[in-house]
């Protein structure tokens, strides 16, 4: 098999099923592609069941059900049931909108292991502004229903300039909801969030303050609630080990059936991503050009090619390398060894004045914005 050096397990341990790009919310930090409106042919129930079976056979254990909003799919319970029968550990990644207590119970009966609810903020006004709908109270109710039905309680809040100064209130809310696990995930700049980076990237000062608050809560709640705080990599000097390497453990299936090594990979042009409607998961994972393209180290150029750290970070994120340098085989410019790092640092430095940027226009993630954005690019 190609790339077996970096691919220790050789198995797609993680299957992320993006069931749909439809979503009742409109978060400007959404990492879905800008082209959501053009995804019309969603996979059928049978297609999804086949994907689940084939990936499980290749060793997949974790099943993420996401989107968009996965609750939009009427066949979600059926998909969950198949996942449970096959022995997956299944994670529903949801905004909570489209849920009611009955569905929380029905999903439990179908064998769902865990529900992760996302909040936009800890108060109604900001939450509902960022989500573009009135959903805050409903999210609180659903978070309580999840807890009451004995699921592990995981809350996710994407952190950015607009809500980072509320971090203490956000953490108080998670304590009050008795979360077991809290993910404070700094926005990653793909898709819609990349479009909105000027209004989303926090300043260094905001970041330092938020970090110290998050650390204090981590200490205080050590044995009760696990808090994971992911800092924005634009402020780092080494990139994240994106997806543990391309084609190493992650397999994403987009709503139309395209198979991707990470959920943002479709943003890299000139790669033909195979579709589960035409090809088996076995072929896609082991033999397709797309999954072998950046597997292992053979594709690397300098500085990564000769770098002693390449086995640690795999050269960072391919999508980010493409996005910021125009060439997906470059080092992720987050890395200070990248010749493009200075340009990124300058960009970040230009985004430090929070007040000046407060009024920057925000593009909400919805179908009509998606349509007009793709019209403009034609």
């Amino acid at each position: 098999m190609v790339g077996s050096t970096a691919n220790l397990s050789g198995m797609p341990l993680w299957l992320l099923a993006e069931l749909t790009y439809r979503c009742p919310l409109q978060c400007p930090y959404c990492s879905n592609p800008l082209e959501i409106a053009s995804y019309k042919n969603e996979l059928s129930t049978d297609d999804w069941l086949k994907v689940l079976r084939e990936a499980r056979k290749l060793g997949a254990m974790q099943l993420g059900l996401s989107g968009g909003e996965p609750l939009v799919r009427k066949d979600l319970e059926l998909i969950v049931k198949e996942g449970a029968d096959l022995g997956y550990y299944s994670n529903l990644i949801t905004s909570g909108v489209g849920m009611d207590e009955e569905r929380v119970v029905a999903l439990k009966e179908a064998g769902l292991d865990h529900i992760q609810i996302s909040f936009q903020a800890s108060d109604k006004e900001l939450n509902d502004f960022l989500g573009g709908t009135s959903s805050f109270q409903h999210k609180l109710d659903m978070a309580r229903a999840v807890k009451a039905n004995n699921y592990p309680m995981v809350l996710n809040i994407v952190i950015h300039r607009q809500n980072i100064d509320h971090i203490e209130d956000i953490l108080k809310m998670t304590v009050e909801l008795k979360a077991d696990y809290v993910e404070l995930a700094s926005t990653q700049y793909y898709g819609w969030s990349a479009l909105n980076v000027n209004s989303l990237l926090p300043s260094r000062e905001q970041l330092e303050r938020a970090e110290s608050i998050a650390h204090a809560y981590q200490d205080q709640y050590r044995n009760k609630m696990k808090i994971l705080y992911i800092v924005p990599d634009y402020y780092e000097t080494r990139p994240k080990a994106c997806m543990n390497g391309w084609g190493s453990v992650f397999l994403t299936i987009a709503p139309d059936g395209r198979a991707l090594p990470c959920h943002a990979a479709a943003s890299i042009p000139d790669i033909e991503f195979p579709n589960v409607k035409d090809r088996s998961i076995n072929y896609i994972w082991n033999d397709s050009d797309a999954f072998n393209k950046f597997r292992g180290f053979g594709w690397m150029k300098d500085p990564c090619r000769t770098c002693p750290e390449k086995e640690k970070d795999f050269g960072g994120c391919r999508c980010q390398a493409f996005k910021l340098t125009g060439d997906a085989t470059n080092a992720d410019p987050v890395c200070s060894k990248s010749p493009h790092h200075q340009k990124l640092s300058d960009k970040v430095a230009g985004l430090q004045d929070v007040h000046q940027l407060q009024g920057a226009p925000i593009v909400f993630r919805n179908m009509s914005n998606s349509k007009s954005l793709s019209d403009n690019s034609d």
Binding site: M11, G59, M61, Y89, N91, D113, H114, N150, V154
Partner: protein
Amino acid sequence: MSEDRIPEINSFFRLQWEEAQNSFVLLYPEGMVKLSQSAGEILKRINGKSSVQDIIRDLQSAFPDVDLTSDVITFINQATENGWLNR
């Protein structure tokens, strides 16, 4: 820790035999741990009914050649520390 303690797996985690890994794994929200053979042998005997003493006795009859007492106790303490077992 007393050997009368009845350990219990934290409901946050699910223990499962994985053929493809040829080992037991612990699965939890968005994560997994592959267990060593001895960790798997101990954890699969933790059922919320057996005491530490029962578990040691059972393991001792499956693996009669070595004294496992201190290994089991160390592991159970560590697993509790990791949050895998209820405190």
